[in-house]
């Protein structure tokens, strides 16, 4: 993708939209995080049936007829008139995988919410963002009654690359959710600074 970088371009192109994905297994606290830190709105999309069921159902010839409604969490944080952060809670179920590519396109990065009672549920998200090369942080949502794990234990269990930040959070708390996002943005800045010598594009 060619990158234009003139100030004129920025001035006429409208506000900068930053997209951050909130991923994680079902019940890991995605909706809770998005609503604690942003102005949340429902966003519906109707999509083709999942790829696995297409294999079974042989939809050839009737493409577009079998749609299913997916509800996503969609949050907006207005930083300034010309800078807005959008949060998208990625649909949790595997059958909505096909939507992730679109959501990930042009995203700044992702938060993978992990529930230590069901750590394996965050494997697919971690795999996805690693494959895509999208910056992500793992936020361990500390539910009441959940055994508290040290971030390093979670890192080892998820087999994360050394640089990937792992933080503990309480998705119900605005300040805590905000800190998770700050960690992600700072991580993205580090990655950019590290690769500064490589021309973008």
């Amino acid at each position: 993708m060619p990158l234009e970088d003139s100030d004129d371009e920025a001035a006429v192109a409208g506000p900068v939209s930053i997209k951050i994905l909130i991923a994680g297994g079902f019940g890991a606290g995605k909706t809770t995080l998005v609503s604690s830190v942003s102005e949340i709105k429902p966003l519906r999309t109707e999509e083709m049936l999942s790829e696995p069921s297409m294999l079974v159902d042989a939809l050839e010839g009737v493409e577009g007829k079998e749609t299913t409604t997916v509800a996503m969490d969609f949050g907006r944080i207005t930083v300034r008139d010309d800078l807005v952060i959008y949060l998208f809670g990625t649909p949790g179920q595997h059958r909505f995988w096909f939507m992730w590519d679109e959501l990930a396109l042009g995203a700044l990065g992702a938060v993978v919410l992990a529930d230590t009672r069901r750590l394996a549920d965050s494997f697919p998200s971690v795999d996805y963002f690693e494959r895509r090369g999208l910056p992500f942080v793992v936020a361990v949502n500390c539910f009441d009654g959940a055994k508290l794990f040290q971030p390093e234990t979670v890192r080892a269990a998820l087999d994360l690359n050394p640089g990937v930040p792992v933080v503990l959070c309480d998705a119900r708390q605005r300040a805590s959710s905000r800190d998770v996002l700050v960690t992600l943005v700072e991580y993205a800045i580090r990655l950019i600074s590290d690769s500064e010598v490589i021309p973008a594009g």
Partner: protein, 120 residues
């Protein structure tokens, strides 16, 4: 299968979302990004001729608004909104600008974002 009714009371409104798009499920033209910015062209419009959904879009995109915001505000599925938008673009009623992505690689922009988040 002939006896199968294709809808009943439980299906909700009789006008299904894709009736608005005359059955089409894919927009025409270039792909419309979730965060592409929709602006009205302020073309002269005849309110009695335009579809009410077109008018609603025009009302909602002043000032310009991203596609995802529009879909949420109009309470219509994203797929339906994209088709409406591609039709409206063809009719010269709106313009759709891809999101500004290059600033994402600008550390200063990201530092602004981090600072702003800390102040939340």
């Amino acid at each position: 299968m002939r006896d199968d009714q294709w809808f009943d009371r439980n299906d909700g409104p009789v006008v299904r979302p894709y009736a608005l798009t005359r059955g089409r499920t894919r927009p025409t033209g270039e792909v419309i990004d979730l965060l592409a910015l929709v602006s009205s062209t302020n073309a002269a419009i005849d309110e009695f001729v335009l579809e009410p959904e077109y008018l609603a879009v025009i009302r909602h995109c002043q000032p310009p608004k991203p596609v995802a915001d529009l879909a949420s505000d109009l309470n219509l599925p994203l797929g339906v909104v994209r088709i409406l938008l591609s039709d409206m673009r063809e009719h010269g009623l709106i313009t759709i600008r891809p999101p500004v992505r290059n600033r994402l690689t600008d550390p200063q922009v990201l530092k602004d974002v981090a600072d702003a988040l800390r102040r939340l």
